[in-house]
Symmetry: C2
Subunit: 140 residues, 2 copies
Amino acid sequence: MSAKKWLKELRAQGYRLTDARRAVVETVAQSPRALTPSEVYDLARERYPTLGLVTVYRTLEKLEELHLAQRVHQDDGCNAYLAHAEGHQHLLICEKCKKAVYFEGDDLDDFFTEVGKKHNFAVKDHWLQLFGTCEDCKYG
Amino acid sequence: MSAKKWLKELRAQGYRLTDARRAVVETVAQSPRALTPSEVYDLARERYPTLGLVTVYRTLEKLEELHLAQRVHQDDGCNAYLAHAEGHQHLLICEKCKKAVYFEGDDLDDFFTEVGKKHNFAVKDHWLQLFGTCEDCKYG
DNA sequence: CGTGATGTTGAAAATCATTTTCGATTATAG
DNA sequence: CTATAATCGAAAATGATTTTCAACATCACG
Ligand SMILES: [Mn+2]
Ligand SMILES: [Mn+2]
Ligand SMILES: [Zn+2]
Ligand SMILES: [Zn+2]
């Protein structure tokens, strides 16, 4: 339930708080999985029926700029947005229900640097994502 | 220079060998970096000027199905295609010139399984990509 | 080597996601 | 409360990708 924090941050950046924004922010902030603009639109309209799709795009763009949400890349698309993690974390995603969980504690930088050396690359960043099946989707 | 192998494989799957396909296949097979459909179009037209963009899309689709090429995900887009690696490998990509190199030898499955256990996930797959600067782009 | 059945082609039209434009509306500083 | 500038949603514009279709080219078979 970080919606309040997100709204406070938007306000702190000089943005106005409107019902349309609140609907989008609350929808994304409390979703257990990454949502596409169109999914956000459908869900947020349950809270605020006159919301326009354009405002969804505009709000997601701002949330991304402020690092409150991030875009998630998956085999079936790369335009779904998820609440951003604190600090350096990676994603574990259920292939069935798409539930996303962050994890930390990977200590692989030495390995990555070593791989870089072999190919004469200076490694600066990495992406790591795990895919599997969550508890709820274990069967069926 | 795996273009010949790719063409042989296309033929083996019952597809006909045309000049348009050859131009696309050769372009992607010998590129040191992932190419978007539009980039493939521009490059392949140097070999076969009447090539249509539609054929580029159709050929890339087939190369992906046959696992000869794969789509590469990057911050600036996820529709660039690269020659697929043999077996299980991961990518190391130069952020400046986009040169892509495969590496193997990561032995992280135990760690991934452990992460999964903590969150009650059965981990089945993972994505790992490294980003940095290649030798040629070290300065400037 | 023909040759015909069938796969393939590129242009144009259709579709789909995203962005831009714009006049009306609304949040908020003062 | 009021004035002003930000924000809104509808509609139009854009850009990427897919579909349609009639002409064409490949290649199995004779
Ligand atoms: Mn990490
Ligand atoms: Mn691996
Ligand atoms: Zn699940
Ligand atoms: Zn480089």
